[in-house]
Amino acid sequence: MKEPLRPESLYVEDRVIHGGGDGKLSGSTDIIEFSGFNLWYGDNHVLKDISLRIRSNIVTAIMGPSGCGKSSLLRSINRINDLIPSCRTSGVLNIGGEKIYDPDVDVYELRKRVGMVFQKPNPFPKSIYDNVAYGPRVHGVPEEEMKRVVEESIRGAALWEEVKDRLEEDAFSLSGGQQQRLCIARALAVEPDIILLDEPCSALDPIATSKIESLMRQLSEQYTVVLVTHNLQQAARVSEMTAFMYLGEVKEFGSTKDVFENPQNELTENYITGRFG
């Protein structure tokens, strides 16, 4: 059910940002918890003493200037940073109460629960069908269920009508925006709880961008969505909560409405009024 449009709202989309406490925010609980979390690449201290609680079933936007650490923060959540040999972390990062940097954590199961979509659409050089089926196959979903999983996932990414007759075609035959929705479908296919999106629209045109943005809204009904973006309007349009990062620190975190209308930190204010970025 859609919320009534509030006249004082700054935002053009067909929804309103709520302050913490009412509406969607009240129904959600903390699912991702950073506390005293640090990250280094070699000697480069990229994330500094991060403490942040990201709530379930809403869109949380992380914004900030280039190099502020927002992507590194996102890539800590599914531990894809582990692929970088010089990467070290300290502090605690909990997902659903589980310390995901504990040595006995199964990182492959973690990544099944925490899907990720990248900046540039990166479908595999396979058919549309096989792209979506890749994750379920890895995790042992039997082939007889695959058709259903693939269809549901592509429907979930609002792509079904466009590709239902061409599932065996090469994924590269799709447009950039379709490829990105295919990557979202691919992430949905392993049935995650959390979806991380790392500037998912930065390589897309405005029409494709608006499709992905409304898809993010839909996804937050069912999933926890964490969006990294350098596009302020995008953060304002799609998120319930917004974090502002600067030089590896979270400078401000609150409801999107508060952060945009009444920023507490001078840096945040300068950033959203366009004085730097």
Binding site: E109, R111, K112, F118, F124, Y134, V138, H139
Partner: protein
Amino acid sequence: MLKTGARKSGGRALMGRLVYVLALLSVAISLLSLVVILGDALADGLPYLTWRFVTSFPSRFPTRAGILPALIGSVWLVLLTALFSFPLGVGAAIYLEEYAPKNRVTEFIQVNIANLAGVPSIVYGLLGLGLFVDALALGRSVLAGALTMTLLILPVIIMASREALRSVPKLYREGAFALGATRWEVTRQIVLPEALPGILTGTIISLSRAIGEAAPMIAIAALVYVTFVPLSPLDRFTVLPIQIYNWVNLPRAEFRNLAAAGIILLLAVLVAMNSVAIAIRYRHQRKAV
């Protein structure tokens, strides 16, 4: 102002033309020498390149001499070498590229593999003689020859395969890891299929080098007059380059014609193998567009 500028650019233009002429000259010299060699071999050898020549054994009489044992020996050698060198080379490349930590030890291994590719082939021949023929008691067999050739071309296969693996975009790997795939699943299902054309091209070109090598096989096989076809990997053998070398050294002029015919045959085999490599690469490029 304009005048000095014009003079300056005149000098630069001259330099440009000079480089163009030198580059053209380099191409001309390489092509010309190839044409001379080929022309010479074709003129001497073509009349002798008959079906009888391909299917006969060597003989004291040039009119009866053929190249069959050397041809079969070379086929044996290249097949066995492929069997050993492909999995070893690709395995080593996968380890170095996908698994090995990026540290000094890995770097040291990498530098040494590159160095090994530059070691003269006769050194490999002597190593093979000591290791496979004597120490492992394989004798002067096709097997010992193939193992020696494997050592010889392994560095090149490893380097070509690493290059092919490295050219697979990081985005594919990250995409698969993000879905919860393990390192091996990512390598086998995503990286290897993409790298395979490059790996195959490198392997085939290495194998065609192996088929043309004489020096290490002289150390291993040392047979110049073979009147039988090797039927198992433990049989003795000879190869095309040795047979050709042998004929060139015989006093009668007709044997030099036979050598030329052998060279044509060897070149034909090489061209055929390289064509396969080019075809694989071409097909892949077309697919990627």
